[in-house]
Amino acid sequence: MSEARPSALVIGAGIAGIQAALDIANSGYRAVLVESEPSIGGHMAQLSETFPTLDCSQCILTPRTVEVGHHANIDLRTYSLVEDIRRSKDGSAFQVRIRRKAAYVDWSKCTGCGACQEKCPFKVESDFERGVGVRKVIYTLSPQAVPNKPVIDAEHCRYLISKHEIESGTVAALTKSGKPAEPKCGACAKFCPTEAIDWDQKDTYEELEVGAIVLATGFDLMSPAQLGEYGGGQLPDVVDGLAFERLLAASGPTAGRVLRPSDGQEPRNVVFIQCCGSRDPARGQPHCSKICCMYTAKQAILYKHHVHGGEATVFYIDVRAAGKGYEEFLQRAQVQEQVNYIRGKVSRVYAENGHLVVKGADTLGHRSVDVIADMVVLAMAVQPRPETRRLAEMLDLAIDDSGFLCGLDEELAPIETLQSGVFLAGTVQGPRDIPESVAQGSAAAGKVIQRLRQQGGEAAA
């Protein structure tokens, strides 16, 4: 890396961070893009289609991720965390410490052939698949992963667990026959054609100096387990919006067939509940999560496309479809696709005779309704990721009541923060959809470029 060239740190490689890094890099400055997951793309990589155009999410995302992977001005640091940030004495730059987690795979040797993942005998529940799918213990997030290099989940790896047991003495160092005990399994290493598995790999640290920082650490969905009245975390056929995306996605665990988790049957009736934990100061978050009205309409439409003759019912408080083409999309769901919309909240979801009973209020019909469903999809609240708070403390940034970061002025300076040189992009600041996140990523890049230029750094030609 050319030390003389000014560079910016972008934390989080979802669509907002990707856009910021690409814009910075395309202006000739260097971008160091840090991502905690093994590969980039963020939540957008989990989605089946996007609203309101029903584009394949993976298809429109992949050109961007590939560009990031190949860009001469982007230093990609995946499977890495920002450990510390300190401002330099004159205030113009930041000293950043990055920890790269041990992947137990030497990525410089790995060709991404996938033999290790094929041969690994152990499967665990995948966070990426939101509990409706599994992955191997050595894994990439998806076949389109950038970088397409696997990591080993040390917590579940048979070899690493038994290696640790031998080294710490919980298992005898000698076997009954007197030979030194050896760790079990190691299938990935046996089948790797380039000997890339490195069982002794440790976390590594890197110190670097940057002139500006973009925070794009994104969001999580609130856990359905927090809504016990809907059977969240208890009833397998009650899933959150991202899990349903995985069931709709052609690259997902069911190869795009909508099958309910409990028995693998195709659900004939699906109920979608909006505002689960959102707009609910008592039980969840006070804010509106903004994206749920649209993605619920999208999921209901896609469900009806996947399961012909299936019934989709949406419970809503009110539908917020303010965006270009959004109201038209909603009309399409209601009129053309005949999704049932019921205005009212749901009080309970419980299992009965192999079905789910959704007890709700129909506040337009002034009656209570029981809807029998095969599956229930909860549009869980969008909330900040836990590491956002840590970064806010590190950088002395303001956070709002929900835990999102605050702009310097939420109306007129939403990209800037209390700290000069630190900018925000995407859902780290509050719920946003994809176009807004992309726009904000570009806006943050603009601020970064302006700052680096003011500091007198020359961009590469």
């Binding site: 809504l227 016990g228 009245e229 208890q234 008592a282 309970r348 419980y350 299992a351 009965e352 005779n353 009973v357």
Partner: protein, 279 residues
């Protein structure tokens, strides 16, 4: 075993149609070294927590009970879920509304009430002061193979932040108790649905519908009996089944009966879940 002493408020229902609840509680308590000492003087808890708490007159009855509890010293324990509900909400309200407390104290001669008492349910005493390990140790007649539905209703759980006895949506105290005596808690979709409560007085039809659904859900889960901590729930669930032949009714029992039978205080054949239990 070290004995624990608590001030005890029975309430009216335990002296009218829930005598058994009190007898079982005192006997189970004795087996566990829990000494429930009845307040020397007490009155009705008021039976409902007033929704218009502006009018502190409606809080006088429960406040008098709290004052008597304070004078007795130590924790004040109740059995009836409704009494517990009213007393705990009154105590919370007076603790967080000093102005209301001041006005109330101007009315009651027995006071002043300092606003600091936190009335407790016997279930909390069993869970928090003794713990399930101690219950398991006392069991001489394990109820192995008995499938029971843990029924909470509303009063024991809601409103969650005020009552704070258990998770209002996925409670576990009754299930843990059922399992501590060796029985099995069934999966029960309606464990914290309302039985219809006071509507028994004004809209019996509504109670019948609500309670029937609870009973049917318990039956669907394969329960041999419903376990409750609330005399009103027990009454409503039994009333909803009165039209059925006796042998096909699902028995409703207090959690205290589970203890007296498991501890060998009461005869095993007195257990309603053995008699009439489905195979």
């Amino acid at each position: 075993m070290a004995s624990r002493t608590y001030a005890y408020f029975p309430g009216c229902t335990l002296r009218s149609h829930a005598h058994e609840y009190e007898r079982q509680a005192l006997a189970a308590g004795q087996a566990l070294g829990i000494d429930l000492v009845e307040l020397p003087e007490w009155n009705c808890c008021g039976a409902t927590f007033p929704l218009n708490a502006e009018n502190v007159m409606d809080l006088i009855a429960p406040a008098r009970v709290l004052i008597a509890g304070g004078k007795a010293g130590g924790d004040l324990v109740t059995l009836c879920a409704v009494c517990f509900h009213v007393l705990r909400r009154t105590a919370n309200f007076l603790q967080t509304h000093p102005f209301a407390l001041e006005r109330l104290n101007a009315f009651v001669e027995e006071g002043p009430y300092d606003g600091q008492l936190r009335p407790r349910h016997l279930l909390e005493v069993v869970r928090d002061d003794l713990g399930w390990a101690e219950i398991r140790q006392r069991v001489t007649q394990p109820q192995a193979g008995v499938r029971l539905a843990a029924y909470y209703g509303c009063m024991l759980l809601r409103p969650g932040p005020e009552i704070g006895l258990d998770d209002p949506e996925q409670p576990s105290v009754l299930e843990n108790l059922i399992e501590a005596v060796g029985a099995q808690a069934t999966s029960f979709s309606h464990s914290s649905e309302c039985c219809g409560s006071y509507l028994a007085a004004t809209q019996p039809g509504a109670v019948e519908r609500a309670s029937s659904r609870v009973v049917e859900a318990a039956r669907a889960g394969g329960a041999a009996a419903v376990i409750t901590a609330c005399p009103l729930c027990k009454y409503n669930l039994e009333q909803a089944q009165r039209g059925q032949p006796e042998e096909s009714r699902l028995p409703v029992a207090y959690f205290t009966q589970l203890l007296t039978i498991a501890f060998g205080v009461d005869a095993p054949e007195s257990a309603p879940w053995i008699v009439g239990a489905p195979a």
